[in-house]
């Protein structure tokens, strides 16, 4: 009793932070945990990026030069796994941890201890995944999609470690998502009704639902891979009455909602930033909410568009083609609303807005190539070529990652109390923008011409384009070191002090608290008009 009462007393010291490493290991503070998530995601982004550099170095010229094909395969596999599960998802979870309580006027996340647990699982999960690269026989080499029988009959023994590391990162994601969803349902300040919630909160609510729905399915998929490989089951083996295509169905039932998990929070971020720098309220708020929900629901009935060439009945191909095309309607609503928000606005071009504008244009390009891929007959040409690689890097790098960068620039002054280094930020933006297009745009061309993905060598006619793609890749990688320098400066609290509102046009609860945000905020809930 006395112990617990002491804790309560302890908490009331407004800005008292525990010191040293124990603060970070044992924390229950949403801001600490958000910071941990964001730094972890950034480190993973650099590691996964280094693997992409290996891939681009090997592909700089035709022929096999630097690494052996098995290692190349491990690089493409682990690059994908790290960027999806280690960089993009934790970065969004970090942003949710920091911002959702501030945006809805809550004192913290609803389940603070579980919050800390879900973070600390991640470094361990990726330690397992990365260390498996150094084992005899190497790490996972079957692509991030771990299709059977590559991951069962033909994989090496480190597959077991891969399976269990995916299990625990799934547990982490589910716990993180439960926390976000319960926080939003249960912790909103009085007056913060559903249709007053900032769109970042809305999109994360829907994302959290998707996470809870599909991460367990991924757990089921890896479990079946494990038993097929080690315990003699034949889920994915025709000799036992199973089917390798079954793997693809289960995987993509998880995988397609998963790609929206990586883009819906981005939509939320852009919907926060564009109104701020256009100095106008968001155009079509309600339609944004409904569009997000529609995209999420549709994501459950489009999975087989990843499998058009696996030999499904024609009726199924048609169904999945039309269902997929339907998604472009709510997505179009969103792009329209962002543009309409800017229409006749007093626009200024601070760094978050620059990234948001780049997002709108480049994500739309990725969306259009997605629409092309949705068309079953032409997908037979595009399938497993660099056209697909170009498509999903446009939506994930210039989409998800650009939105995360926009979010970091947008909220960094609130986190640190200091403005970021404007010069470095501009260099970062323009170098990234130019190099990322040099990197990914020509992939459309080589893809349409038939260059297959995940192969360490290619036909001679692709040599010129690949050289430029690699140069773009190295430049994009180096540009991120500018970002690293900027973040180190910011975390050392260098720079101009930021005001509480930070941006002239910024609206919302998070801009009403001091900059930097105190350790504990909204211990008494604010009234929302």
């Amino acid at each position: 009793m006395s112990n617990a009462a002491e804790h309560l007393h302890h908490d009331e010291h407004h800005d008292h932070k525990p010191a040293g490493i124990m603060r970070w290991l044992n924390t229950t503070n949403h801001k600490d945990i958000g910071t941990l998530y964001l730094w972890f995601a950034f480190i993973m982004f650099l590691i996964g990026g280094a693997m992409a550099m290996v891939i681009r170095a090997e592909l700089f010229q035709p022929g096999l030069q630097l690494v052996d094909p098995n290692f190349f395969n491990q690089m493409t596999t682990v690059h994908g796994l790290i960027m999806v599960f280690g960089a993009v998802m934790p970065a969004f979870t970090g942003l949710a941890n920091w911002m959702v309580p501030l945006m809805i006027g809550a004192p913290d996340m609803a389940l603070p201890r579980m919050n800390n647990w879900s973070f600390w699982i991640l470094p361990f999960a990726f330690l397992i995944l990365l260390s498996s690269l150094f084992l005899e026989g190497g790490g996972p080499n079957f692509g991030w999609t771990f299709y059977a029988p590559l991951s069962t009959t033909y994989s090496n023994d480190s597959t077991a470690l891969f399976v269990f590391s995916v299990h625990i990162m799934g547990a982490s994601s589910i716990m993180g998502a439960i926390n976000v969803i319960v926080t939003i349902f249960n912790m909103r300040a009085p007056g913060m009704t559903w249709m007053k919630m900032p769109l970042f909160v809305w999109t994360w609510l829907i994302t959290a639902f998707l996470l809870i729905a599909v991460m367990p399915v991924l757990a089921g998929a890896v479990t079946m891979v494990l038993t097929d490989k080690f315990f003699g089951t034949s889920f994915f083996d025709a000799a036992g009455g199973g089917d390798p295509v079954l793997f693809q169905h289960i995987f993509w039932f998880f995988g397609h909602p998963e790609v929206y998990i990586m883009i819906l929070p981005a939509f939320g971020i852009i919907s926060q930033i564009v109104p701020t720098f256009s100095r106008k309220p968001l155009f079509g708020y309600a339609s944004m909410v409904y569009a997000t929900a529609s995209i999420a629901l549709l994501s459950f009935i489009v999975w087989a568009h990843h499998m058009f060439t696996t030999g499904m009945p024609v009726a199924a191909e048609l169904f999945f083609m039309f269902a997929t095309m339907l998604i472009s309607v709510p997505t179009g609503v969103k792009v329209f609303n962002w543009v309409a928000t800017m229409w006749r606005g007093a626009i200024s071009f601070e760094i978050p807005m620059l990234f948001a504008l780049a997002f709108i244009v480049l994500f739309t390009i990725g969306g259009f190539s997605g629409l092309m891929l949705a068309i079953t007959p032409v997908d037979f040409q595009y399938h497993d070529t660099y056209f697909v690689v170009a498509h999903f890097h446009y939506v994930l790098v210039t989409g998800a990652i650009f939105s995360i960068m926009a979010a970091v620039y947008y909220w960094l002054p609130k986190w640190c109390g200091k403005m970021y280094d404007e010069t470095l930020a501009k260099w970062h933006f323009w170098c990234s923008l130019i190099s990322v297009n040099l990197l990914f745009f020509p992939m459309h061309f080589v893809g349409l011409a038939g260059m297959p993905r995940r192969i360490p060598d290619y036909a001679l006619q692709f040599a010129d384009f690949n050289k430029w793609i690699s140069i773009g890749g190295f430049a994009f990688g180096l540009s991120q070191l500018i970002f690293l320098a900027l973040l180190i400066k910011a975390s050392r609290k260098q720079g101009e002090p930021a005001t509480d509102q930070v941006w002239e046009g910024a609206q919302g609860l998070e801009w009403e608290i001091p900059s930097p945000a105190p350790y504990h905020t909204f211990e008494t809930p604010p009234m929302v008009k």
Partner: protein, 293 residues
């Protein structure tokens, strides 16, 4: 959000247990990842010991975390709003479990409706059957696989039927235990909860007996093709969940005896009983789709 006055939301002070839990999961994942290889490929190694250590650390973490949690709850630090957070959290957790079973039910339906018929030549797959698996006949339960493994099908009468009745009754007794708690009838609460636990244990014992019977006398094994795969994976994961549910109920039993719960403070009890109802519903699905149909 209609409250006029606000109870302070309880944000717990820093706690070592989440980090300990992460270490535990790390040891479990590393241990299991090595143990699986060592056990199935006959290699030497420490995987099993690492796994065991991980499970031990996890148990220590659970005990420590729950102890803190119970202490805080008993000293009245939890507000009604926090209670709602716990209940919603538990509901979403159960939803995630439903989706986990969904993956395996999906595999079962796909195998029955699509994979096996196609191997037997259905649709436009006549040549698949002719050339790749000549003589294979698509039937369910799949007692002979395309590769030639044979087995026997598990009937629904006998043990499975008894087990179904046991679990259905246990759901009812769990409900009446909760009614006892709501109405302050301690005797009904302890009695009904005790009966629920006993029924759970009976179910598990009979399930083990069924597995022994399947392996020894029927030749129905995990390796018996897609029928055996789906049978053992679905009933096996369900059995693990019943085990966990029974453990939760046993913990609740001791807390009931200590007088921990009241009409207004009963989240843990509710969570355990929701979990129990959930495993019962999963069993009914299993009974219909795995055993009967």
């Amino acid at each position: 959000m209609s409250e006029q006055s606000y109870e302070k939301y309880y944000v717990p002070a820093s706690s070592p247990w989440p980090f300990v839990g992460a270490v535990a999961l790390f040891l479990i994942a590393v241990g299991a990842g090595n143990f699986v290889v060592e056990a199935t490929k006959g290699k030497d190694g420490y995987g099993g010991w690492i796994l065991l250590t991980g499970i031990l650390v996890l148990l220590i973490m659970l005990i420590g975390w729950f102890r803190d949690q119970i202490e805080e709850s008993m000293t009245g630090m939890h507000s009604a709003q926090l209670g709602r957070s716990y209940r919603q959290g538990m509901s979403w957790f159960i939803f995630s479990e439903v989706m986990f079973f969904g993956a395996f039910f999906g595999a079962l339906f796909y195998a029955r409706m699509i994979a096996v018929p196609w191997l037997g030549g259905a649709g436009n797959n006549a040549m698949t059957n002719e050339v790749l698996w000549p003589g294979f006949e698509a039937i369910w339960p799949l007692v002979q696989t395309p590769g030639g493994t044979t087995t026997e099908a598990m009937g629904w009468y006998g043990l499975p039927l008894i087990n179904t009745v046991i679990l259905m009754i246990s759901s009812v007794t769990a409900h009446f235990a909760h009614v006892g708690l709501e109405e302050g009838k301690r005797k009904q609460l302890t009695l009904m909860l005790g009966v629920t636990i006993l029924l759970g244990v009976c179910f598990l014992i009979l399930q083990v007996e069924e597995y022994v019977h399947a392996y020894r006398e029927m030749g129905l094994m995990l390796t018996s093709g897609i029928y055996g795969n789906t049978f053992f994976m679905l009933t096996g994961f369900h059995g693990l969940h019943v085990t966990l549910g029974t453990l939760l109920l046993i913990i609740m039993f001791f807390r009931v005896i200590k007088g921990h719960f009241s009409k207004d403070n009963q989240f843990a009890f509710q969570a355990a009983s929701w979990y129990w109802h959930f495993v019962d519903v999963v069993w009914v699905m299993l009974f219909i789709f795995v055993y009967i149909l």
